[in-house]
């Protein structure tokens, strides 16, 4: 029996490894591709003379594509969107976890429905509206529309964190002589800090990875890496090594963050499922 068990164990591990080859090979291949010199792009597969020229070109803006600026843009609009969502969303999440009242239930439901709305329903009108308001291709415009991604996530997740926290801790603080505001900042907030950190990072990743919004609502000034990376594919002679380098540079921040918050991700990823 034990040999049978061992054999099935080995087979299971093999199956796992097979899946992970499928999952990781594309990333590895991008690394390989990004290190190829331009003249060996189409003549070699695995053996070539590696060079960092691809990265130099991408980060040196020499193809007429200001990739570094796109990177900074991504950083600015993603951080801005998360910050705004936190400032606005934390009090709302707290209020709706502590008091059940009609306004908050409606708000929560509306936010949840954003999760399942096709993005273009909102973007096409915004495309028209932004041009009238002068918000087209601006940071402000992007931070606003990214609320569609970050706000529901932050409010729903933080509400569940606050709901898990017994209100008696804050009540004890009130009787200790603190005001409600102090009770929130000194007692409730420190206790959900890990949650705030995890959900902020997850929201940042989703904002960073967003593609439709910058594709339609920016053209150059506020364009982000996701749209920028795609522009390396254009042109008569596609430069695959540059595309690969750009793609890799643009996935570095989310990948690094993801590995740090892994433990907290399940709650974040399944958000909204709590209700049903």
């Amino acid at each position: 029996m034990s040999t049978g068990k061992r054999l099935s164990g080995v087979l299971a591990d093999l199956a796992l490894i097979l899946y992970f080859v499928f999952a990781l090979f594309p990333i590895a291949w991008m690394v390989i591709l990004s290190l190829k010199p331009a003249d060996q792009l189409f003549s070699t597969y695995f053996s070539f003379s590696p060079t960092l020229d691809g990265y130099r070109t991408v980060l040196g803006d020499s193809e007429g594509i200001p990739f570094v600026r796109f990177f900074v843009n991504s950083l600015v609009v993603s951080v801005g969107a998360v910050a705004l969502s936190l400032v606005v969303g934390l009090p709302a999440a707290y209020a709706s976890a502590r008091w059940r009242f009609r306004g908050s239930e409606n708000l929560m439901f509306t936010l949840l429905s954003f999760r399942f709305a096709p993005e273009l329903t909102v973007i096409i009108p915004l495309f028209v509206l932004y041009q009238k308001l002068g918000l087209f291709d601006t940071y402000v415009g992007m931070v606003w529309v990214l609320q569609l991604v970050t706000l529901p996530l932050i409010v729903w997740i933080m509400r569940s964190y606050f709901a898990d926290l017994t209100p008696e801790l804050e009540q004890a603080a009130l009787l200790d002589g603190y005001t409600r505001r102090q009770a929130f900042f000194r007692v409730a907030l420190p206790l959900v800090k890990p949650g705030v950190a995890a959900v902020s990072l997850l929201a940042f990743i989703f904002a960073w990875n967003n593609f439709v919004f910058p594709l339609i609502l920016t053209s150059n000034e506020a364009q982000t890496v996701t749209v920028g990376a795609l522009s390396f594919l254009g042109g008569d002679r596609p430069k695959y090594n540059l595309t690969a380098a750009a793609a890799l540079v643009s996935v570095v921040p989310p990948l690094l963050l993801a590995l740090t918050i892994q433990r907290y991700l399940v709650r974040g990823l399944s958000f909204g499922a709590v209700k049903s």
Binding site: A172, L174, L175, D176
Partner: protein
């Protein structure tokens, strides 16, 4: 001094407090006793201002509290969950009130005060530990300490001993009442344990379904319970309640007709009643009315013995000194006696309405 008048509180469709009236005198130690869900915690939180009554008033020291925020009421509360800040040390938890804008003390004075209270409660050595690394009993002392470190108009204690093991609970019960601060300060103490209430309370209030059923000293509650449920709540083993009717001449006749006891109750003939006798008020021989039956079972409880006796179709229990019961075997005939003044007469219970005690003050 705490006074609640006609307080109503509902949560959605559930009624927590249903016209509750309560008076706690200055410096008094008042125990609120009731089963879970009776509204005990809601009462405390209403006094503290953590819950707002739907109607009715709360006064502390004669001052109406309806517009006063919890942090301005000057009451200190010990929560059943302890509500300690899990991310801070025991010292920081005790210091919390003394660092707040309302009760701020200079750091040195605060340190002295905290050390004093911690020594008093025997947790002086634990102050640097994070709360998460304390045992239940230690946490409970920290929670109590947070109540005691600062001056308060009233202490509100919500089952502060309920999570402790039996031995520790008995020890803390004795210590609690001895604390100087507790002796001087008006205290509203919530519990579901009648032994605790009898041991601690200057007065006791019995709460049921969001109303106060009866308030009084422990003697009043013990000897003149308002109804069968209050009578059942106090004393272990429970009071014996024998069903029957009042026959001609004010004589109680048990339901199976095997038992007749004169009670002289001012009720109409054929009223259905319950006759109550506490196990400790029944004796084997001695003066008083006599009841004859047979022994069913005996159980030794240290120096005394609980004897269960069949009286016709009923069973009653009594507690007697060990020596009195030494020869008793199952099915032995026995003669029980009870003094007339120890008999309690109640109306029969009806569904959802325990029987009231009938007239004639027993003492």
């Amino acid at each position: 001094m705490i006074r609640l008048t006609g307080v109503h509180k509902t949560y959605g469709r559930a009624t927590a407090l249903d016209g509750l009236d309560l008076d706690v005198g200055e410096g008094e130690f008042f125990c609120l006793l009731g089963p879970s869900g009776a509204g005990k915690t809601t009462t405390l939180k209403t006094v503290a201002g953590l819950e707002r009554p739907d109607s009715g008033t709360v006064e502390i020291d004669g001052e109406d509290m309806s517009t006063v925020e919890p942090y301005d009421r000057g009451v200190a509360m010990c929560f059943e969950s302890y509500a300690l800040y899990p991310h801070r040390s025991a010292y920081d938890n005790l210091a919390s009130p003394l660092r707040s804008p309302r009760h701020r003390l200079p750091a040195a004075e605060a340190r002295a005060r905290i050390t004093e209270v911690a020594e008093l409660l025997g947790i002086g050595a634990l102050l640097d530990r994070p709360v998460g690394r304390l045992s239940n009993g230690q946490r409970q002392r920290v929670a109590l300490g947070r109540v005691l470190v600062r001056p308060a108009r009233a202490f509100l204690l919500d089952e502060p001993l309920s999570h402790l093991d039996a031995k520790l609970r008995q020890q803390m019960r004795a210590e609690l009442k001895a604390l100087g601060a507790v002796r001087r300060t008006t205290t509203l103490y919530v519990t579901h344990d009648s032994v605790e209430a009898l041991a601690l309370g200057d007065r006791i209030g019995v709460i049921r379904d969001g109303r106060i059923v009866q308030t009084g000293t422990r003697e009043e509650i013990w000897y003149r319970p308002r109804d069968t449920e209050v009578a059942r709540a106090f004393g272990r083993p429970r009071i014996n309640l024998l069903p029957g009717v009042v026959a001609a001449g004010g004589v109680f006749r048990s339901a199976d007709g095997s038992l007749e006891v004169p009670v002289g109750a001012p009720v109409r003939e054929d009223t259905e009643v319950l006759l109550g006798v506490r196990p400790r008020d029944l004796g084997l021989g001695g003066p008083g009315h006599a009841l004859t039956g047979t022994v069913y079972v005996t159980e030794v409880l240290g120096r005394s013995v609980e004897v269960t006796v069949r009286l016709g179709g009923q069973q009653v229990s009594l507690i007697v000194p060990r020596g009195d019961a030494s020869g008793l075997r199952a099915d032995d005939p026995v003669r029980l006696t009870v003094r007339p003044e120890n008999l309690l007469l109640f109306e029969a219970d009806r569904p959802g309405r325990p029987g009231r005690r009938i007239g004639k003050s027993a003492r």
